[in-house]
């Protein structure tokens, strides 16, 4: 089995990294380049870089910034935000992204996922699903970091599943949501949104059957690190890369 992956998430807005709560109240948390260099030095398993306002601003991905970051990133890199065409994907892969996350475009033009998968292979298509729990306990998924839509992972190689309710709360992943999606698909699922402790990671890997755990706030705002997370997870019986 591949090792479970511990993945820091970098959220980019305007000119710097930010972190919010429930997709709002963004706080600045530093420069992207600095973060990439540090994570590269620490040999993290994989990095997720999301330009969170590209789509709502009607911008394409910022290829130059991704190019600069990828030049310092000798680890796997998933890039998302503003990806709407096959040409966007081609350019992102060319400048150094290994996988491309697709959110809004996937919902508006589901055929795009198939087209990208046929051209570049499913393995580089990550469908990003932002889900919110309804009062009756069912879920709905969102795009544009908040507007409602239904997404389907047709032809995708991986799901980046983010709980909007838990995002930035440090109160733990939505294990039930993760389990629901993990059981429904045969591709890897990256759990995202809510990580506050290493125990939360163990819980969503075990109970939620996630293949990877993404986190941002707990690395930005606490002393916890991806390396210590993996040491904890190894002690808890998971297979990790140290």
């Amino acid at each position: 089995m591949p090792k479970i992956r511990v993945m820091p998430t970098l959220l980019f807005k305007d000119v710097g990294l930010v972190k919010g709560v429930a997709f709002d109240s963004w706080r600045r948390v530093g420069s992207a380049m600095q973060a990439v260099k540090v994570y590269n030095m620490r040999e993290v398993d994989e990095l997720v870089y999301l330009d969170i306002t590209a789509t709502s601003d009607g911008r394409p991905p910022d290829f130059e910034t991704v190019d600069d970051l990828a030049d310092e990133c000798f680890m796997p890199l998933t890039v998302g935000g503003g990806v709407r065409t096959v040409e966007h994907v081609r350019r992102l892969l060319k400048v150094g992204a290994d996988k491309v996350a697709i959110n809004s475009a996937a919902v508006e033009q589901p055929a795009l996922i198939r087209e990208i998968a046929d051209r570049f292979g499913s393995q580089c298509v990550v469908v990003s699903i932002d889900a919110r729990r309804r009062a009756d306990g069912t879920y709905e998924s969102y795009t544009h970091a908040g507007r409602r839509a239904d997404a389907e992972a047709m032809g995708a190689g991986e799901v980046l599943l983010t709980s909007i309710d838990r995002d930035g709360t440090l109160q733990g992943y939505d294990v039930e949501l993760t389990r629901l999606v993990s059981d429904a698909v045969s591709i890897p699922v990256i759990a995202s949104g809510g990580a506050g402790t290493y125990a939360h990671m163990a819980e969503v890997l075990r109970e939620g059957r996630a293949s990877a755990v993404a986190a941002a706030s707990m690395y930005h705002f606490t002393e916890q690190t991806p390396l210590a997370a993996k040491q904890y997870l190894r002690a808890a019986g998971f297979s990790v890369r140290l």
Partner: protein, 205 residues
């Protein structure tokens, strides 16, 4: 200085591969031109994408013949990465049935889960266990983790071509070697320290 032709056939993460080669002390030239491939000391065929498109793109640019002339006949050390390794096979089954370059006898088939929780694509860090010694892995211990992201794998007909295997989906070939023609299913350019060691070993050939 090693001059490394990184073959551009419209498929893949050319910049990542070129940057990693630079970090490992080589001088990468991203190219699809015969003259630059001929004058290179090493050739790397990267690749992200589907087998059918990959082979069609190579042929459309005449690269199948150029690479054969300089790698197979001329003996310039050659490294195929991921799809770049798979394309060396006889035949691929991704995006229809397509003839490959045929330098290594074998078929490129989809990974089949061999148990519960074996998810496809195979994404992440997994073990590379050596089946025989290869200069490509000098200074690397067997069983170390490298980064994979793929749904297909090369099934080799001749066991002699196999250098390493990875325990997933019943086990698949993760590195091959026939003379100076080498291939890896994982991404050395994204496998940090150990990946760089493999690239340095290749550049030392």
């Amino acid at each position: 200085m090693k001059q490394v032709a990184v073959v551009d056939y419209g498929m893949g993460n050319l910049d990542s591969v070129a940057r990693a080669i630079e970090e490992c002390g080589g001088r990468p030239v991203v190219t699809d031109r015969a003259a630059e491939i001929e004058s290179a000391t090493h050739i790397v065929l990267p690749g992200v994408g589907a087998f059918g498109d990959g082979i069609r793109n190579l042929r459309a640019r005449g690269l199948d013949e150029i690479l054969r002339e300089h790698a197979v006949v001329g003996g310039i050390p050659f490294l195929g990465i991921c799809l770049g390794m798979q394309l060396l096979g006889t035949r691929g089954y991704e995006g229809g049935v397509t003839e490959g370059l045929g330098w290594i006898e074998g078929e490129v088939r989809r990974l089949e889960p061999a148990g519960e929780d074996q998810r496809i694509p195979h994404i992440g860090w997994n073990e590379v266990a050596f089946t025989r010694a290869s200069p490509l892995f000098a200074g690397v211990d067997t069983g170390q983790d490298f980064y994979f992201v793929h749904s297909y794998h090369l099934v080799c007909h001749d066991k002699e071509d196999v250098v390493a295997v990875t325990p997933y989906c019943g086990g698949f070939v993760s590195a091959i070697a026939r003379g100076r023609i080498l291939g890896v299913q994982f991404h050395p350019e994204k496998s940090q320290r150990l990946g760089f060691q493999v690239l340095r070993n290749f550049l030392a050939l």
